[in-house]
């Protein structure tokens, strides 16, 4: 079997493997476990992109209206399953008061002797017994109320805890999704640059430090001018953060320097820009990056950090 040539091929094969799996949930879980074991973000994103491509293709068929009653049958099946499991949401909560229960063995026999010992007319409850009965009833109601309150408090506490767990999980997933989207954007931007600079016929112009004491000695950059493209790319390396200013990019023409944008400092920096109509200025002679106090200047005023005038074409 031929080994996958690159990350994308691996990602495609892994996404297709989910299609071939008997249990897609298990296949997705396995992918997630492999990712958690230490894959790179870019690979993870590629895999996800390929998996979503699979999903899009699978759902490209014409939708079909479910027949009348299908949804009701589904919901009825679910309600029946809940009832069979014993968690009917419509069943009211049972309240069990503290103290003697009617179904306890001997509860009726215990009640009888008490009534018989008091005496009096048959069918009439004497005053002292009535008072005791009312007291027992009040005590029972109080106990029931306390029991219900305790149960409700416990349920509320559990619901709050569950809500907090869900909120934490939601935050975690939202953060993860944001990170993934950020990586997708970065991968997309990188893919765009790669596509542009690897095109046949692209012109290059390397830029190097100039002078005996260049401001950023280790810096280096390349200007990529893809054919038939509206945008040019300037990719720089070892550009430390501009001290007290910005790095301004200039296209030098016979009419003078034309501003092209600002390059951010950093180990790897890039600038994508639409070049001005250089034919109106007599064409581009060279390109320079200078250190300026602020962006938006019309003419360079600071020292030259990088300079390039050697254009070459890559076929």
């Amino acid at each position: 079997m031929t080994e996958p040539k690159d990350r994308e091929e691996r990602a495609i094969l892994e996404a297709l493997a989910v299609l071939e799996a008997d249990d897609p949930d298990e296949a997705l879980s396995r992918l997630a476990r492999e990712e958690a074991a230490g894959g790179e973000d870019a690979e993870e994103i590629l895999r996800r992109l390929c998996l979503e491509t699979v999903g899009l293709v699978a759902l490209s068929e014409e939708p079909v209206a479910p027949p009348a009653g299908a949804k009701d049958r589904l919901m009825a099946a679910i309600a029946a399953e809940r009832e069979a499991r014993g968690d009917d949401p419509h069943r009211p909560a049972a309240v069990v008061p503290f103290g003697a229960r009617d179904d306890e063995p001997g509860a009726a026999r215990r009640a009888e002797p008490e009534r018989a010992s008091v005496g009096g007319a048959p069918g009439a409850v004497p005053r002292p017994a009535r008072r005791r009965w009312l007291s027992a009833l009040a005590a029972g109601l109080l106990a029931a109320t306390l029991g219900l309150s305790g149960w409700l408090a416990a349920e509320l506490h559990e619901a709050r805890a569950a809500l907090e767990r869900l909120e934490q999980e939601h935050t975690r997933l939202a953060d993860r999704l944001e990170r993934q989207n950020d990586v997708i954007q970065r991968v997309g931007a990188s893919a765009g640059l790669l596509s542009a600079v690897s095109r046949s016929g692209v012109e290059l112009c390397p830029l190097r430090p100039v002078g005996d004491e260049p401001p950023v000695p280790g810096a280096f950059a390349v200007l990529y001018m893809p054919p038939d493209s509206k945008e040019w790319y300037l990719v720089a390396s070892n550009m430390e953060a501009a001290p007290g200013g910005v790095y301004a990019v200039w296209l030098n023409t016979p009419d003078g320097p034309v501003p092209a944008g600002v390059l951010q400092g950093g180990p790897e920096a890039s600038l994508r820009f639409v070049p001005p109509r250089l034919e109106e200025h007599g064409g581009m002679l060279s390109i320079a990056v200078t250190l300026e106090p602020a962006p938006g200047l019309e003419e360079p005023s600071g020292p030259v950090v990088l300079f390039g005038d050697d254009r070459m074409s890559v076929s």
Partner: protein
């Protein structure tokens, strides 16, 4: 059964609610996805009744396994598509449907119906049209291999044996087709994430 409290919720939020036992959330998911899942199932099974049963099984699966769904692994619609497709292909493998295919095709009903959520439905249709257009742009031999893998549940080895195309060529065409689709459907994929 779905109401305004679920109509605006994201797909992931609905699945989370289903995991907590919210039947209204399941009803909303059904309204959103049952038509496209039924289309997918019919494409695989070529039988309306079997397709309806598969879709019912899918949503029962959602009800029972919503807690295991991880939005970091896939979008909800991809998850549902994979479950539906897997169940449909299992059914194809376990039963002989060849004799029923032709008769069942005669009874097929028309596509689509108006939904209360017209805006979302229009977006879904537009996305589906774009996907079908990009599928149409793929060379025929690559598209056929994708269709065999996606809708007939064939492994690459089975495709090679069935078509007589070398296994390496099958893999190469699959990779090329997937790369083209992934690039062409970049915007559609972003909508799912």
């Amino acid at each position: 059964m779905a109401d305004s409290s679920t109509a605006g919720a994201s797909d992931s939020a609905l699945v989370r609610a289903v995991a907590e036992g919210d039947e209204r959330a399941l009803a909303e998911l059904y309204d959103r996805f049952a038509p496209v899942l039924l289309g997918l199932a019919r494409r695989v099974l070529h039988d309306s009744e079997d397709a309806q049963e598969v879709v019912q099984e899918t949503f029962l699966h959602v009800w029972n396994r919503a807690g295991s769904y991880d939005p970091g692994r896939s979008s909800v619609c991809t998850w549902l598509a994979l479950v539906t497709r897997s169940r449909a292909i299992d059914r194809v493998r376990s039963r002989k449907v060849v004799d029923r295919t032709h008769a069942a095709m005669q009874k097929e009903t028309g596509p689509g119906h108006e939904s209360a959520r017209e805006g979302a439905r229009v977006l879904e249709e537009e996305r589906r049209r774009r996907v079908r257009r990009e599928l149409g742009n793929i060379p025929g031999e690559q598209r056929r291999i994708l269709e065999m893998a996606f809708f007939e549940g064939m492994t690459q080895r089975e495709i090679a044996e069935s078509t007589g195309i070398p296994l390496g060529t099958v893999k190469t065409r699959t990779l090329l087709a997937m790369k083209k689709l992934r690039e062409a459907l970049r915007d559609e994929i972003r909508e799912l994430l």
